[in-house]
């Protein structure tokens, strides 16, 4: 059953649950952070509308900096701004930032340990028709390997807002991952969020499996859990919006309680949440484990729903994977 402590949306399983892209949470969150702290600045690279940087620009035109199509410069100018006391958020598509400017991020932001907040938009196959070139599937892996870096993949627009506000208050660099397509807003302003904490969304009385998910696929995990429960299969759904630092205590508890873990994410199965969990549990509490993600392939054009289904990243595929896993 739903975890009442999570204060999820009253329309959680209704057809008309509100749908918004998580990038909207960058728009609202950056404005909120900007109101609280005048050091917050937003940098963009010719993608003001689609990254929602223009929401910040409307409120704080003098604190929004346009770099043109130059992501390497965006990262390094941000490092300079941070060295001079600002809290820069840099926003672009994840394939370009951190895709193109990885070394600049590594040296001038991570090793330099300055509070630049990297906002990777349009992550995952749900970018849709733009195709493989624009569907970033490796960013979590790239970012979580960097020392000093915090890595966040919020589950919906509301949580994304909270993540942006929290990132602004955090010392050091943070990577935040956002999606393009509208997805269900399953959390509410009352839903707890703090960096480094996982959130139980669903927990049956005798769960046979723990479903660990990140980003907007946590909603698919919830839908799958409800359907499994209807046929008598108990599960636990743990939403993991902070991939680094991992909430080890909660993850360990879920593994101990269920004895089986399955992960799902809109990322390569290698390097992302699934790898993070596999690395941690294999050392601390080895249990049978399955990782759902994109299996060493690039994406392609299509609608978000077509693509998620094709790569096995929706509720029906997750449910089938759980059934196969526990039998």
């Amino acid at each position: 059953m739903l975890n009442s402590g999570a204060h999820l949306s009253a329309k959680i399983f209704a057809d008309d649950i509100e749908q918004k892209p998580t990038r909207d949470g960058f728009g609202t969150g950056s404005v909120e952070a900007g109101k609280v702290d005048s050091r917050v600045v937003v940098l963009c690279a010719d993608l003001k509308e689609s990254t929602r940087a223009e929401w910040f620009e409307k409120e704080f035109p003098e604190r929004c900096i346009e770099l043109g199509v130059a992501e390497q410069n965006m990262a390094t100018v941000a490092a300079g701004l941070a060295l001079a006391g600002k809290i820069p958020f840099i926003a672009s598509y994840a394939v370009f930032s951190p895709g193109r400017n990885y070394e600049q991020i590594r040296t001038t932001i991570a090793l330099n340990n300055v509070p630049v907040k990297l906002c990777g938009m349009h992550a995952g196959v749900s970018v849709g028709p733009d195709g493989a070139t624009h569907q970033m599937l490796e960013d979590i892996g790239m970012m979580r390997m960097l020392p000093n870096m915090t890595v966040l993949a919020p589950g919906d627009a509301e949580e994304a807002r909270k993540a942006v506000v929290a990132a602004a208050k955090t010392d050091g660099p943070v990577y935040l991952r956002f999606g393009r397509a509208p997805t269900p807003v399953f959390t509410t302003p009352e839903t707890p969020f703090s960096i480094g904490k996982a959130l139980t969304l669903w927990s049956s009385e005798n769960p046979k499996v723990a479903i660990l998910s990140t980003g907007s696929l946590s909603y698919a995990a919830l839908v799958a859990a409800r359907s499994l429960a209807a046929s008598g299969i108990g599960s636990l759904v743990l939403h993991v919006p902070t991939i680094k630092p991992l909430d080890e205590e909660t993850v360990l508890g879920a593994a101990k309680q269920t004895g089986r873990v399955i992960t799902i994410e809109e990322h390569q199965a290698a390097g992302g949440l699934g790898s993070t969990i596999a690395e941690f549990l294999s050392e601390h509490h080895p249990v049978p484990l399955r990782r759902l993600g994109v299996q060493d392939m690039f994406g392609q054009s299509g609608t978000p729903l077509e693509l998620l289904a094709h790569y096995g990243l929706d509720a029906p595929h997750l449910e089938a994977a759980v059934r196969a896993f526990i039998s």
Partner: protein
């Protein structure tokens, strides 16, 4: 304000001492770059002993000028100049590249106060310097809005106007795309509080820059990006200082300034001057002894010329 002959001579002997320290550091480290640090010793002397508004014993002093070293590999000259200026004991220079040293093979901001940033991978310094210059200008505007005596604003009334940002680059890293992205940005925003310096010594690891990937006409390229460009002999301390002073005046022209400083790689040690093979290797102990002699005799010659 023109320098007196005495002041120039003092700076030149500083540069000589810094070159000697560099040779000792490189011999002791057994690895590192020789040509660039020697070629830039005069410019670093000019910065740390004349140009920069800084406090060696208070490296985080907020009102200091910022000196970003983009081509981090020439850090031995920065370390030596900082030590001679009083940031840390000169003896510590001999820890260069050793395990546990604050003097890493490439400079790391968090290890040694006063380094301003972490660098090594080429082409990223100009953007960072431009970011700092942009932030200073934002602060200046904020304090303008609030007025210099406001008690709600940050304690930096008109500070942005005073703090200058300098960025030292190699000529080789002009081949990096990131450098030109930064040049566009600084030109667009007319960052007149930013002065960049290119160490135009014409060598890079694989040979002469004009053979590897030609950069000329370099001055025209920056002019086309809306920079004010000056060219000087980078081994002539007073000429270099005069160029930096001119860049400050260009404030009114509202442009960033680039000083193309023509330097002699390996300057001070005639047997390695202009030789690109010395870009990335250190002298052996025996070579080090010989180089020190050459530096000292060169020093004598320079003094003689000015006498």
């Amino acid at each position: 304000m023109a320098l007196t002959d005495d002041e120039i001579q003092q700076l030149e002997s500083r540069a000589e001492a810094i070159r000697e320290t560099i040779i000792g550091m490189l011999v002791n480290a057994g690895s590192g770059h020789t040509a660039g640090p020697l070629g830039m010793a005069d410019i670093f002397t000019a910065f740390y002993f004349h140009i920069l508004n800084h406090r060696p014993r208070e490296p985080d002093w907020e009102e200091r000028d910022r000196l970003i070293l983009s081509n981090g590999h020439i850090c031995p000259v920065r370390y030596a100049a900082m030590a001679h200026a009083g940031y840390f004991p000169v003896e510590e220079c001999l820890t260069l590249r050793k395990f546990g040293s604050r003097l890493q093979g490439h400079p790391e901001r968090l290890r040694l106060p006063g380094l301003e940033t972490t660098s090594g991978p080429l082409g990223s310094g100009l953007s960072q310097a431009a970011g700092i210059a942009y932030a200073f200008r934002m602060d200046e505007k904020m304090s303008d809005l609030r007025g210099p005596t406001s008690d709600v604003g940050p304690r930096r009334s008109y500070m942005g106007e005073k703090r200058r940002v300098y960025c030292l680059m190699s000529d080789g890293e002009q081949q990096e795309g990131n450098t030109w992205e930064a040049a566009l940005f600084a030109g667009k925003h007319k960052l007149s509080n930013l002065t960049a310096v290119i160490d135009r010594n014409n060598i890079q690891i694989d040979g002469m820059t004009e053979d590897v990937m030609p950069l000329e006409p370099l001055a025209d390229k920056y002019r086309a990006f809306n920079w004010h460009v000056l060219e000087v002999n980078g081994n002539d301390i007073s000429a270099f200082i005069a160029a930096v002073e001119e860049a400050k005046v260009v404030y009114e022209a509202a442009r960033p300034t680039l000083i193309i400083a023509h330097t002699i790689p390996g300057k001070g040690v005639p047997e390695i001057e202009f030789d690109y093979h010395w870009h990335g290797k250190p002298p052996s102990a025996e070579e080090g002894k010989r180089f020190l002699k050459e530096i000292r005799s060169m020093g004598g010659k320079v003094q003689h010329e000015y006498a």
